[in-house]
Subunit: 441 residues, 2 copies
């Protein structure tokens, strides 16, 4: 087969953005994008809640998200590219006993000029009366659930949702227009590693040989070995699948995430909840994060529905060897019923008697160390992973970083949108230099 | 079954030291040590090269090893406990092209008062004439192997080997004398996690419940569930096996390590090599690390042999799900033949025509981020892992840190031997604060 300059593995949003920026900035290079599924962004990018926010305490996290959001907003608002963006905002409800801690986080965000404001309980009651902010002392349910009265709320303005299919289409179209090639239904089964100076002996490369990843072994639409001067691995939750056999640490853990769709239908309470003019110009409430267990609610105007999810922490297993087929991972009705719903219906009683009409699951590739992505070079390959569920909202910045690393190596400076210099070493692991994110949902 | 105050899982040296220090400092607590194998230190502790050194660039690494070595030396030299220690020293051979970098590492070590000295090539030739320091320009073999002339050498004095069985026996005996109980041939199949306030519902703990690890499920010599107020997990390479199902990140990668034993026998060259009076009072050469591919040689006086190993980096697979039975992992004669021997026999021509008489393999649990161990609390359990092949030489310090964490929690100060305060938070992941180790073999 033809030799390529670059092969990008994975057409999730991070891989797509990487392919796009690489081809845009290196128009003379032959670039191949390889994806296991029939279309782009159909795995975890497509199964995510597709939310974005710039409300982070870690300044690096903030930059990655904020500049990506700016790029997306510019596309939609100035370039006429519809990405389905809805700037509905993020609303964090904060328990009384967490108020001090959150105050510190807020201060940090304000220092970094994040557009975030505090909302008092009094204000909240006025602008979002459906939220239950106070539980009676003898409310046994609330006690059993460990619920604490709401002490304050934070509202992030430059936050919202987008349509991952439309963003994928933008990157894909651009990549192809710039001259890129894509192969779908093609599965990469192995990274090919070879010594710089081949001896033709069985078992190469030996430990004393300098070796590099020089290509990929594929099956499916394409079959056989495809070679390239540079491989970019953007396989998200499946990073370890290709890296483990090569002794390269992807530094991620994989976890199932579930989303439950609740239709408003004829339900008066939910219908009332979906209409709110106090937070944004969409006339719907913001994305709401409850103060307990990382439960969140995304209002979806065009579907007349809510998506409900939960960022659990402990006691839900890490998936050691994630299946290629995401249909393996089912959302569990029990999880909604026993883990989410009791808490959800206390803070938002409109959910009291409603159950999801549909549900689905995806996988997160989580960096539990600091919750920021890794971008690093190993054996000549560029590896991007560990976006910890925020691939959609950081895709543009990560693509630019991958491109900078391609052109200038591990010590490169990337220019994030519109033109913000970023020292890519900070996201490596050898010279990692990022603050741990404290504002994880 | 009886309820224990503490269960320590794993009777490798780190688990043994933890059990010892815990029982010593908490004489009234009922402590159970559980081990899958029939005897202590029979898995990777027993299969390791059993070397120790205090030559590290990372000050935390230095402290963990240096204080452990002091403890071992005191036992052997002052307390009359034979640990089979041989203070043979470590000798690093350094290529000309690595001399500058090594100079920086040396400086750091000297600043931290590590007993390490530089040896010039001229000196080296005199005191260790068997080492080939210079390759002819037309030496094609050397060129193919990418070998560079030796530019300098470093010698670490407070370094050597010990007998892991004897050290294990010391800790085990002490633990039992202090009143500890041990159960061998007992396999922990699961960590039991329960909500603080049980409701008696199926599927607990739910995400809104505070939950803790309250015991272990075992099979083998003991069967069933055993409960304890605190669980200490010291399962080394098998950390993920119990942690993954609970969604706790052990942050390690597992790799096979191989050792090859070469008998001196009637071989004149090797016999000559094994005798050296310039480095230590044992009359044998030091542990030697070659300047290429992490190949090392351990002289074993009592066996009249050399052990040869290699700390390869890339392209040898990480083992995603390590087998409980280490016999699964075979040393590969090919690895000695093609990866190690070509380089070994160039720097030490005495090895030219010799092949190993036996070989074995073990597993490393590697923290590739900074190569220091992790000690942290999660869900009420204390987890110690990621010693990256230096469990033997850091076992004592890690045991003291585990004990301090047990008594005072995550913000404890441990006292390393003889009485050196150590902030245990530095080895956690939430407040991790260690320098990445640069002086990895």
């Amino acid at each position: 087969m033809t030799k390529f300059d670059i092969i990008v593995i994975g057409a999730g949003l991070v891989g797509l953005s990487s392919a796009y920026h690489l081809q845009k900035c290196n128009p003379n290079k032959k670039i191949l994008l390889i994806e296991r599924l029939p279309r782009p962004a159909q795995a975890n990018s497509g199964r995510s809640a597709a939310m974005f926010r710039n409300t982070f305490t870690s300044v690096d996290n903030l930059q990655l998200a904020d500049t990506s959001i700016d790029f997306y907003l510019n596309l939609q608002q100035e370039q006429g590219v519809d990405l389905g963006i809805r700037l509905i905002g993020y609303l964090w409800l904060v328990s009384e006993n967490q108020t001090d801690q959150v105050q510190r986080h807020l201060q940090k965000m304000v220092e970094h000029r994040v557009d975030v404001k505090q909302i008092t309980v009094q204000e909240l009651k006025e602008i979002f009366p459906q939220v239950c902010t106070h539980f009676n002392k003898n409310d046994e349910e609330a006690q059993t659930l460990g619920l604490v009265n709401i002490g304050t709320a934070l509202f992030g303005k430059k936050c919202g949702s987008l349509d991952p299919d439309l963003l994928a289409e933008f990157y894909m179209k651009g990549f192809l227009q710039f001259g890129g090639q894509a192969s779908f239904n093609t599965n990469v089964t192995d990274l090919i590693i070879e010594p710089d100076e081949k001896l033709g002996l069985n078992g190469e490369p030996f430990v004393w040989q300098e070796a590099r990843i020089v290509g990929v072994r594929v099956s499916g639409e394409l079959e056989g070995d495809i070679r390239a001067s540079r491989i970019v691995l953007a396989t998200g939750a499946w990073a370890n699948e290709l890296l483990d056999p090569r002794g390269i640490d992807g530094r991620i853990k994989v976890k199932k995430r579930q989303l439950f769709k609740v239709d408003v239908g004829q339900n008066k309470g939910l219908s009332d909840l979906l209409s709110n003019r106090s937070f944004n110009s969409e006339g719907i409430p913001p994305f709401v994060i409850l103060p307990k267990s990382g439960i969140y609610i995304k209002p979806v105007k065009e579907e007349c529905s809510f998506w409900v999810g939960c960022e659990d922490e402990i006691n839900r297993e890490f998936i050691t060897v994630p299946d290629a087929n995401l249909d393996t991972y089912k959302a569990e009705r029990r999880y909604y019923e026993f883990d989410i719903h009791p808490v959800l219906s206390k803070y938002l009683p409109s959910f009291k008697d409603v159950r999801p009409s549909s549900m689905w699951a995806g996988l997160y590739g989580i960096n539990t160390l600091d919750y920021l992505p890794y971008v690093f070079m190993e054996c000549g390959a560029i590896i991007v992973c560990g976006d910890s569920g925020s691939g959609v909202m950081k895709a543009d910045a990560l693509g630019r970083i991958v491109d900078a690393m391609y052109r200038e190596g591990e010590n490169a400076t990337a220019y994030l949108y519109p033109n913000i210099p970023y020292d890519v070493r900070k996201l490596s692991y050898r010279q990692r230099n990022v603050e741990r994110e404290e504002w994880v949902i």
